[in-house]
Symmetry: C3
Subunit: 357 residues, 3 copies
């Protein structure tokens, strides 16, 4: 399997009718926002949808895609017959978290012969913890320490599993003994894990947009996560000792937050540094929306623990814009709409190829 080349995508794009572009994605994650934003910017929309999810997307008229492509299994979109259909509709795919999860970064790079908004090469870096860490450290960001061996644990750590969804089974430990107890408890012996310093502070997720068309990095919003069962556990502190199970951290939703204005300097710099560094990692670097996931310590230092190199679920809070995007755009500007705006402006300026791969 070889990587789909930029030239192959550009060839498809060249044959597209630029006046009839369709924005498409899988019906999940941030699809309502992506469709809503595409419609606001005047695009046709297409939802790649499992039959049981269709009703959800019909329930929100302003976000309902113009067309549904029903599939039983999402990787059907890797087939050449579906490619042909989508290309006929002049489709540009907007990838989101579930899209990357369902199709897989390898398949996106090697087998999804369709124009994607942004840079498909980024997913290889986002989904590989070592590459991701290398990238973020090269950008000069402070990350949590990592411990290779359980016997090295000398502080509070969190143990994460590769590919685990929503934080499922992640656990905390303070030393080697607790590490082994934890592995046994979650039945993870033998699984691949990462042992990471657990930095205590306030969680903050920053939503950026790197516009190669406007040549600027925009801060479109921020959020914090709402997780189960920890949100319930914290409400029974007087009973905590009686509960035998450790809390879990499965993401259920998101809540809005803003930061002290004096912290914006650091936050904007983090975004810029990540984009700059990405260009050393892979050709063209990061394009479009991304999210830096941080803990803000009591010393007001941001410790970065992850990057999501595409639209994140927390942006769904801001269908009509956030307190930050409202300082950037006169119209209600969600990240979903921002993507379509970038595509629209790129088309107007004859630069579509520079935001699609």
């Amino acid at each position: 399997m070889t990587e789909i080349s930029k030239e192959e995508i550009d060839e498809i794009l060249e044959r597209y009718d630029k006046k009839r572009i369709t924005i498409a994605t899988i019906c999940s994650h941030t699809a309502l926002q992506i469709f809503f934003g595409a419609k606001q910017e005047g695009f046709k929309t297409l939802g790649i949808c499992r039959p049981e999810m269709k009703r959800v997307y019909e329930s929100f008229p302003l976000a309902k895609p113009d067309k549904f492509l029903l599939v039983d299994d999402y990787d059907e979109i890797l087939s050449s017959s579906i490619h042909a259909k989508l290309i006929e509709d002049n489709v540009i795919i907007v990838p989101h978290g579930s899209f990357v999860e369902y199709i897989g970064s390898k398949n996106i790079c090697n087998n999804l012969l369709l124009p994607i908004f942004g840079n498909r090469l980024v997913f290889e870096w986002e989904s590989d913890r070592k590459k991701e860490r290398n990238w973020l450290l090269s950008a000069g960001l402070r990350m949590p320490l990592e411990f290779k061996n359980p016997s090295d644990i000398d502080r509070l750590v969190i143990v994460k599993f590769h590919g685990a969804k929503g934080g499922k089974n992640y656990f905390l430990a303070k030393n080697e003994e607790e590490f082994h107890q934890g592995m046994e408890k979650v039945g993870a012996n033998g699984k691949e894990y990462t042992i990471q310093e657990y930095v205590v502070g306030a969680n903050l997720y920053f939503h950026y947009f790197n516009s190669v068309i406007e040549n600027r990095i925009e801060l479109l919003g921020m959020d914090k996560r709402y997780e189960s069962n920890i949100e319930g556990i914290v409400r029974i502190p007087h009973l905590i000792n009686k509960i035998k199970k450790d809390p879990s951290f499965v993401v259920v939703g998101n809540t809005p937050v803003i930061v002290r204005e004096s912290l914006l300097q650091k936050i904007l710099k983090i975004g810029e540094d990540v984009v700059k560094s990405s260009r050393d990692m892979f050709p063209k670097g990061l394009i479009g929306p991304f999210c830096i996931e941080t803990v803000c310590t009591e010393d007001l230092e941001f410790v970065v623990f992850e990057i999501s190199a595409r639209i994140v679920a927390g942006t769904n809070l801001y269908m009509f814009g956030s307190p930050y995007s409202q300082l950037l755009y006169k119209e209600p500007m969600s990240t979903g709409r921002r993507i379509s705006r970038e595509i629209k402006t790129a088309i107007e300026r004859g630069l579509l190829s520079s935001v699609v791969y």
Copy 2:
């Protein structure tokens, strides 16, 4: 006392001047939103108000009712002289949480001879725990287990009291001994109680609107609650053992939240199932706004613990619409406005009787 019949209400409605309908409610709970929404939709508004609350409703010009009906005691509105006045103004009552609490579900059914938006029969089901549980279980929803006898308690439970406001005096127990200790502590021996499995997870309150005019169930928003003193207690975990009092869970306010898009399927289904099931419980079933109060477990399962079959206080977050209603309506659509929109559309289509009882 016999139930007011639909025919009696329809007779009143028939005599109404449909071009001069006034939206009225008691000045509390969600009245600002209800008045604001009614004015946005072009209705006259009337606030049934205790003298000391008048200034509050005068402080918000866009929500200030056109007329105040001052009462010292809210159940004055059950008198025939006030009925006459309100009928003269072509009043449709919009009931909210405090309205139901102050007037009482029995009085609403038997003695409030005024057109009410929605179905007045629902309050009998909402306010009776057994009927409510029967309804929700019939709808196929998962509810917390209930224990008849304190000696049956085999897991973490919450003990609730009938008619207690805002969660006052609710307490948690893990076994019979703690149950008795708790009852003594809150001085509740002899009171009627419910012993309910305490499901640990993230609280989520979903705001639905069942439109019989548009024949669809809309998800208008969601919230979580902000409670005292628990919100303060969680901020002093290192001192928790030194505090002798158990936390309390008195609702003080609400905060916004959104959920993972993949959960919307389950959430929409819960709303549909509750409405469908309501039609087996009482004629015409649930009409208009309602709220399902859930805990989302770490397995992303929703456990339902209550239904509010009218507008809920959490909707006050979304005076200008939520990230969900923004996908439904081009205008800023609060639940308060949605109610008036339904009345307006019903009038336009000659269907007012089908949304009022």
Copy 3:
């Protein structure tokens, strides 16, 4: 050093070209909101800015000040040469939290010979804990008890340090012994402190605006704070005993909240009482935005622990208005915009002098 008189400021104002007023502040805290609001109301804007912060304020086009005045040290604005420049631009200064902190209340009263929106005398009362307490108690508000001597501590208390930023080093104690342990732990022996009853409940910060032009007190919004590292600490309750450090309460940001509508009566009264009482404390009293910082107990009583007599950071949540301001104004009304609206209306009515000192 003598206090700058109202007459001196009025003289400057008289020479101003009222059609070319410039709204100016230091680039920090709520400056984006202040500039954004000033532009919405049609004013020119000027940012007093340290060079390294300029990029932040250039990153948000709709809030970017028309002019930057670069300074290495903020107290340069006390120099007469800069005064001259700013007066030439018909500048009205809008003070915010960082402004007061950087320039100092004494300097504002004695050395800042420039028109300030509001009443500069208030900062002396806001920044002096004894005067502030005297003021709030005179207003009839319930405040936490204060203990002069550590030996008097008979309940949970919080120990605060004068001028400490963002709650840094604040600690909790239940008796004299814990007080001394705490002082030692944070290395505060010898520092000035306040020992305050720690009231457990839900934190709520109310954003008011006292309009002397419209002769009313408006509730523009409310928030709660997002603090580090406590927000992280609460997420690891099962490990709390293993962490040796006490939690800290450094403000990192803010999150939105609304209250039960029935509490608005008390909240509006608190605002009115504080304004009324301020007029006994200093000539003209409080003008413009202020914030009352409360804890709402489980008995739904508000205990007030501080006043900020200027725009607060939590208002940044509501760039486009809050659920409360949306009931006051048809346009999206932030506190920043409200300030400029007040100045604009004052100019139109020939009353500028009554909102500036």
